[in-house]
Amino acid sequence: MIASVKRLVRGPLIRSTNYTIESSTHLFLYVFNQLHIVFMRIVPQSIRVWWQKFLQDIFIAILKVGPIPEHVSFIMDGNRRYAKSNNLPLKKGHEAGGFTLLTLVYICKKMGVKCVSAYAFSIENFNRSEEEVQTLMTLFNAKLEEFANRAQDYKDPLYGSKLRIIGDKRLLTPETRNKLKEVERLTQDGKDFTFYVCFPYTSRNDIQHAIYKNSKEYTEKKIKLNDINLNKFSEKMYLDEFSQKCDILIRTSGHRRLSDYMLWQSHQNSTIEFVPTLWPDFTFTQMCLIFFRWSFFTTIQMYNNDEGTSQYPWKTFMPNIPFMNKNHYEPLESLADPPVSVSILG
């Protein structure tokens, strides 16, 4: 008992110093987090793990019956600040970030999200120091191989997922490019879940690439001019069928900008969430609360949009009253004749 109290007292409860409370949602999260941390420090490890897993499974199962986003996207910001604030080498920060990503991808897959994309490396990141770029590359390769192996192992929860690495691959060395191709080939049969890793990617590059591809195909007479339109344009982009829209875009570490990521996908009717936590600290709870919030508002939106359509079974049994239906218009001639008009002047 004394030991557990000691454990409680020791050190600040929140690990990261960059945690700021900006709104009442964050306050709620903060209190929740604190309570959970206290709870976690009191109970023994085995119960702790079991309890965590149980909570996760239950919450996923509950969320699964509601509306689920199709395309979720992450901007993983704050790895280096995490390393700095915890006095770790930079590499450890990136490793922690990679671990968080794989965990969250697994949860998304379990929840029934069809596609997850993550901003692993920006084209602008080549401006960083040579050493850091190099470590990032090696780490990235290792993580990809791990993912590919897990996607092939039928016992693993990530089994059956497809890995795609998108971006301007001309900027990479030939060896890396071959390796990426090999990893992509290993997982190409995955159907129900796609994981896009944006590796040297910027959204402007993506749009430019689509323009280039369209122009090229037009000059080669593969498509007509009419085929270049709003719907077909995004098919030429890197993210295949998910290029049209990204349902939830999550950016960690509190910056409120997109930093050249998913501009085309998220600039209309998509939810953009800016979270103050650093990426390695971004947990299951926080992500699920974001999903829950989205699910809540989507339920209401769907109800408001789809009232009277086939969504609600009892609506089909309702009689169709002509003048209650606003889409139905009758011409003036079809109205019944009015009574005879008589003037008082005789």
Binding site: Y218, T299, M302
Partner: protein, 377 residues
Amino acid sequence: MTMTEAHAIKTKYLNGNGKFVVDNGNADMTGSTGSSFHIPPPAASRMKGGSANTKRRTVQAISKSIFVDNRNINTSSTIKSQNDKNNNKATTTAVSSNTFWKSENTNYFKFTFYKIVLAILFFMFGIFRYGQLQYNKSKLKILDLLYNPSNTPQLIRQDVVKLNKIPSRLAAILEVKPIGDVGGGLKGILNDASELVSWTISAGVKHLSLYDYDGVLQKNTDELRNAIYEHLSIYYGPANVPNFAIRIPHFNKVLYNKKGQGDIKSKVAIEVSLLSNRDGRETIVDLTRTMAELCSNKELNVDDITVDLVDTELKQLVGQEPDLLLYFGPSLDLQGYPPWHIRLTEFFWEEDNNQVTYSVFIRGLKQYAGCKVNVGK
């Protein structure tokens, strides 16, 4: 009801040569419902549209959601099915009803149980959310009292001088609210726009882009010019109203000051550009078409299409990238703002705010002063 229809309407303006013709008969776009073709993200749509906003309706939506099986109906597919409702209504219902019973790991009772639990959680969240809404609203009211420009440019400048940097280009997303609301209708949006212009001039920012989805401001330039002139004369006195230029990139037009004052060649205090949804994705697609034609006519090499080239073209067609984007709505909804131009733009909006107020403006500038941009590093 979405992109395709909006597209169909927009293409009415398109002449054969790719030049745009203003259709005067369409001035009734400022109807009672505001942006008619835009589907906002879920959280933002909650706050819009009068009748969809009541507590009773929320309770109805949640309780009826228990009976809806949306495991196979994703949001995008519902939007799609709205688009061609008549075509494949039968097929979509068939698919959903089939899989509902035949899916292997469906346990009907388990499913219903989870549905009910989810609805209960939704109710709890709804109550929490109501409290949060009230809290945010009162916070905003207090902020409004704290930051009040009182139509005095000196006060605004005093607020801005404290900051260590201000954006050189500012953008704002405005929307036409329903006519019954506070600040609704065409009058409302004109008033908001001209207030913003006055604040921006007083803060010392030289460029302002005003975006509204339907392009209502673009269609009512005369009224806008008059409104801005009136507001500026309230701020600076009728004798020395600062010069302003209004630029409409889409029609390639520049207008100066109030109508009838003619072109004034002296320095302008602010350049206001008016953008609409047309300047977003569609402009990029139009650019692609032009480039494709140029390429097939051998006037342009395909390999010359680089990010820089596209950037210069889009800068000419739409304008520069803003540094700070203000949104005066309840939760961030970019409404199709030109995607190429929000690369490093800072966003600012206040939770649950629904009005164009000075407190949002100045707090946005404060956030910008505190932010650190490091491209790639």
